[in-house]
Symmetry: C2
DNA sequence: TTATATCACATGATATATCAGATTGCAAGC
DNA sequence: GCTTGCAATCTGATATATCATGTGATATAA
């Protein structure tokens, strides 16, 4: 997304709000998104709504059936596995690079990401998920590669609705502390190992949870697009 | 980009044509893209032109200055370096995974990508660049990770206008043969090394060429967006 | 009762007009 | 001569109307 000051446009405000509601699971996968309803909800015409939906479709959060409808994208189990694997590829590379060049300021920032465990309610889990995203993006930023940072951020956005399923509120600070320790030691191998451990644990938990709680709704290995 | 049968829409046809002209360098970085002119050129109203430009901006090929103009995105030297580094991250991971699971059919396909060296003219270089993209996407596909495959494809699209600068028409088949040999041996370490060698050689050549031929036009380490 | 054809409606896609902000050029003041 | 302010123009952003396609419902025939 290459734009300057796009934040001043209505389409951007709608995009952000809608994106967040999809990511946080308030609009369920497969749900139809109706442009007339959305334009009433946001108090605009359908044009910026369409623009926002176009943007979301390019992030694969929304699927366009031309001339038929817009839908919140369903994710197959295969796609989820692919995303989690891609996450490992990107974030292990990021943390290796970060270990070699991270500054004290950046390390301090990492240590202040978490506001602590406050329970297992939905509100707390929204916060933990956001803090987790911030933590990992700060590491990617410390890699010095902005393209990599943006890729990591987008990946977290796409995975956010699944990250909540982990229920890792109690353990997150511990696993992140391991990563911070390796970064402080400027040890790329150790940092990579700590990161890969976290990511694989998370992937395993997410996949288990998804299969348990939504097994019957998943298109295992198939194409899960509306209308097909 | 999550859509079904989008190819039937005018916005998609415009998107593809415009995208290609940017990638092939026919619209130079920094060039203003005027919606009225484009709508006349494509014989439509400005609406699908706007849609297409929105899509291109999300791929960072176009930069939107809200209420001011659309421009072909300029890439800073830092961004180019970051992209090339991200390419190494993604493609080395892809080739490792491919080495473990590539089929004979996929290997045959790799061996038939190249139509041979035909000279140093522009037309030939367009073809080499396209063949190079296809080669690397086939490898990513052989990794079995569709998300990774798409990421590699997008990366090649963004880098296409720089890949041409390599002038690697004569050497490409040789470097690709090394990779194919390692894949045939199902040796991930060897495959990774061959891939990293190619990517680093390419990156070095591209950066040298860019600095030589366009050094004075580059915003070294700065922000190179129109109007700033 | 089932299969096929037709019609009506829903909804995205597109066209056109208007609005809103940015940019440029010119004039006045210092 | 330089700077600032204002007006005009440019151009993207948005609103509204119309078009085009897909889907579901209904009617008709076998």
């Amino acid at each position: 997304m290459a734009q300057s000051n796009l934040e001043s446009t209505a389409k951007h405000a709608i995009y952000q709000t809608l994106r967040r509601s999809i990511i946080l699971g308030r609009r369920a996968p497969g749900t139809r998104l109706n442009v007339e309803e959305l334009s009433e909800e946001y108090g605009t015409s359908i044009t910026p709504v369409r623009d926002a939906l176009q943007m979301l479709s390019q992030e694969s959060l929304v699927t366009i059936q031309p001339r038929s409808g817009y839908f919140v994208t369903r994710v197959t189990l295969k796609e989820l596995r692919d995303l989690l694997d891609l996450r490992e590829i990107l974030e292990s590379a990021a943390v290796e690079r970060a270990a070699l060049r991270i500054t004290d300021e950046e390390l301090d920032a990492l240590e202040h990401v978490h506001a602590g465990y406050t329970g297992d309610d939905d509100f707390s889990y929204d916060r933990y998920t956001e803090e987790n995203r911030r933590f990992h993006c700060l590491i990617a930023q410390a890699s010095g590669n902005q393209e990599l940072t943006e890729s990591v951020g987008h990946l977290h956005d796409r995975l956010a609705r699944f990250m909540v399923l982990r229920r890792a509120g109690k353990t997150m600070e511990y696993t992140h502390a391991r990563i911070i320790k390796a970064l402080r030691a400027h040890d790329p191998t150790l940092a990579r190992q700590a990161m890969v451990d976290e990511i694989r644990d998370a992937a395993s938990l997410i996949l288990d949870r998804v299969i348990q709680t939504e097994g019957s709704a998943w298109e295992l290995g198939g194409v899960a697009q509306p209308g097909i």
